[in-house]
Structures are given as structure tokens and as C-alpha cells.
């Protein structure tokens, strides 16, 4: 028995062998296969090996028909889904209006926040400039230390200048 299972079918004839085992072969194909089988022990063995499978598999009954109740159940589900969709579509305009309102409000809020933060930045810059300006020395004003406080000091400064010129 073991010897029978050593060889396998020729790959180019497997489709025809399947036709043969399932009883769906005829005409030229049947002639071609039968001629090949005469000279090919491998294909003969392979065909014999699987010949039992249709009988074996057809012992089991096919799936039972689920009956008319199934179609009714499906239609009931379809109708209930339709009702849900219809209910949704009644509220749909309000819902979409609500979404639009929310979107507009969010946009307006975002613009306000952006504007607010921009003006704060501008104010901050102005303040900083004012502070910095307060610390810059006035080079055009005379040095208060160099301003004469009395007549004697004026005379002293004139004398110094004259001395320097000489």
C-alpha cells in the first residue's frame, strides 16, 4: 500500500485530474487525460488516492436553510436602522447649526486672544523703551558739575581758559 503513495501527479495534469475526480470532464480533455493515464503511473496513483474524497465529503449534509425568519429579521434590522437614520436626520439641521456656531465662536475667541496678546506685546515694548530712555545720559546738556555757581568761579574759569590759550 505504501508503494502506491510514493508518486504524485504531473503538475500539468492536476487540473484535469480534478475535473475527472469531480466528474466534470468530457470531450477532448477526457481523451487527453485518458491517453496520459495509460502511460503515467504517478497520475493513476494520485487519481486513485483521492477518488474517495467526493463520497467522503458528501456524507455530510449541506448547511440547512435558515428559513424565512432570517430574511424577516434582516429586513427588521434594516428598517430599524432606517428609523435611526431618519431620527438623526430630523435633528441634523440643528446639530449642524450648533457645530457652525461653536466653530464661529471658537474662531472669534482665538482672534480676540491673538489681538489681546499682540497689544500686550506692543505695550511692553513701549514701556521697555521708556525705561531704557530714562537711563541714557543727556550729552547735549551741560555738565552740572561744570556750571559756575558764583562770580568768582566765572572769573576763575576765564583765567584758566586764557592760561590754556597762551
Amino acid at each position: 500500500m505504501n508503494r502506491d503513495y510514493k508518486t504524485s501527479a504531473c503538475s500539468e495534469f492536476e487540473a484535469l485530474l480534478e475535473d475527472s475526480v469531480s466528474g466534470e470532464i468530457g470531450g477532448q480533455d477526457a481523451v487527453r487525460l485518458s491517453q496520459h493515464l495509460k502511460g503515467c503511473a504517478g497520475c493513476r496513483e494520485a487519481l486513485e488516492y483521492v477518488a474517495l474524497t467526493p463520497r467522503l465529503l458528501r456524507l455530510a449534509e449541506p448547511s440547512a436553510d435558515p428559513g424565512p425568519g432570517f430574511a424577516r429579521d434582516v429586513m427588521a434590522r434594516i428598517r430599524s436602522d432606517k428609523d435611526i437614520r431618519a431620527e438623526k436626520s430630523f435633528w441634523q439641521p440643528l446639530v449642524s447649526m450648533g457645530w457652525r456656531f461653536a466653530a464661529t465662536a471658537t474662531l472669534a475667541l482665538a482672534l480676540l486672544v491673538a489681538y489681546d496678546s499682540t497689544s500686550h506685546v506692543q505695550q511692553g515694548v513701549a514701556g521697555t523703551l521708556a525705561l531704557e530712555a530714562a537711563h541714557i545720559p543727556d550729552v547735549f546738556s551741560p555738565d552740572p558739575a561744570r556750571v559756575p555757581a558764583s562770580r568768582d568761579e566765572v572769573l576763575m574759569m576765564v583765567a584758566e581758559n586764557e592760561h590754556g590759550n597762551r
Binding site: 503513495y5 510514493k6 492536476e14 494520485a46 483521492v50 474524497t53 458528501r58 456524507l59 434594516i78 436602522d81
Partner: protein
């Protein structure tokens, strides 16, 4: 007009040829058109016509009875929602079965479950009874024997790769044609035939191993030959 309900036939008055004079294919196309125009009775009729095969297809992939009905319902809900987009270029059944296969894989992916796996081994009695039925070529009699045969076959099939199981169940148990299988699985007809033939051979390997445990089956012999 044996299979078409009166309300569907009445709705068909807008279509040029009455349903009664049509071939099965034309009749189905007329039903699809009516369903696309919103005739619920036409859609219900389409469900009735295809529910058994959809159940068979779902069952061949999921193998869990309790999930089969849920997934089959989901399939028809999807079909109802998208039937307006169906362009009638292929057969309605092909389109429906493709949706069914995709829905099954989606379901398995979402649930993160594998198709049913039989952990328990078969008893010697079960195996010898099945072998007796097959050898004697006698029909299965009675509900209990049918249930036992189904369990034994399920066990044998479960030992095969998933695609082999599916092909064998749909072809041999549920009566799908090779052409239909090729369309459903997006495969070439020849490829389906070759895969079916190899699946049969693998099934016989499992069957022989179980019925004659001492036997070296074809796969073992081929493996031994390759090694030597």
C-alpha cells in the same frame, strides 16, 4: 412565477418584461434593479434566494454556528447599504459572495479569533464507523449518525490548511462550482482546480493516518523519497 412573491411581481410592472417570462438571471437582475430603486420586497426576495449559500460560505470560514447568523445578517445589511453602487456587470451572487468572504475575514480580524479548532481527538469507534460507511458506500441514516459523521469530517477537515478546508467544503458539501469559487476567491479557474486536487490528497493523508495509523501516507512517502 413560482418563487417570486406577488408584491415583488407587482413592483416589477415598471420593468419592460414581466418577471414570469424572464430567465433566472434576468429575473435576478430585475430584482436587483427594484432593490436599487428602494423596493424592500425585492431585497427581501434576494435575501431568501441567497441566504442558504451565504450561510454555507460564512460557515465554511468561521465554523461557529452562533457567529454564522450574526455575520450573515451583517453581510446583507452591507449589501443593502451598497446595492445602489452595484453596476450589474457581474452576477449579483458573485458580488454578494465576495462581500461575504470579506466580511468573514474582517470579523475574524476584529475578534482576533481563529476559525474553530477541535482540540479533542476522535475516538476509535467514530473513525471505524466512518470508514465502514465509506467502504460500504452506504448512505448515512438517522440524525445521530449524521451528527457523528459531521463531527468526524469536521475533525478531519480541521487538520488541513484553512484554504483547503474552505475549498473542499464549498465544492463538495455546499455545491459551489469551480467557476463560482474562482470568482469568489479571485483566483484563476485552473488554480482552483489544482488547489482542490491537492486539498483532496491532503485530506486523504489525514484520513489514512487516522483510519490506518501504521500506514505511511502519500505525503510521508514523498518526504522520505526527497530525503533519500
Amino acid at each position: 412565477m413560482p418563487d417570486v412573491p406577488k408584491n415583488v411581481a407587482a413592483s416589477a410592472s415598471s420593468v419592460a418584461i414581466p418577471l414570469a417570462r424572464r430567465t433566472k438571471g434576468e429575473e435576478e437582475r430585475a430584482l436587483v434593479r427594484l432593490a436599487q430603486n428602494g423596493t424592500e420586497a425585492a431585497f427581501e426576495e434576494l435575501i431568501r434566494r441567497h441566504q442558504q449559500r451565504v450561510f454555507a460560505l460564512v460557515g465554511s470560514i468561521l465554523r461557529r454556528r452562533e457567529d454564522v447568523e450574526d455575520v450573515a445578517q451583517q453581510v446583507f445589511l452591507k449589501v443593502f447599504v451598497s446595492i445602489k453602487r452595484f453596476d450589474l456587470r457581474s452576477a449579483f451572487s458573485t458580488w454578494l459572495y465576495k462581500i461575504t468572504v470579506n466580511e468573514c475575514w474582517d470579523y475574524l480580524r476584529k475578534k482576533k479569533v481563529r476559525p474553530l479548532v477541535y482540540e479533542a481527538d476522535l475516538s476509535e469507534e467514530q473513525v471505524s464507523r466512518l470508514d465502514g460507511i465509506v467502504s460500504a458506500d452506504r448512505p448515512v441514516t438517522g440524525a445521530s449518525e449524521q451528527a457523528e459523521v459531521k463531527e468526524t469530517l469536521d475533525w478531519l477537515l480541521e487538520k488541513l490548511p484553512e484554504q483547503d478546508q474552505q475549498l473542499l467544503i464549498l465544492k463538495e458539501m455546499e455545491g459551489f462550482s469551480v467557476q463560482e469559487l474562482a470568482e469568489i476567491l479571485d483566483l484563476n479557474v485552473n488554480t482552483v482546480k489544482v488547489r482542490l486536487f491537492r486539498a483532496r490528497s491532503r485530506l486523504m493523508d489525514v484520513y489514512r493516518r487516522r483510519t490506518n495509523p501504521g500506514t505511511t501516507v502519500k505525503a510521508d512517502a514523498a518526504r522520505a523519497e526527497r530525503k533519500s
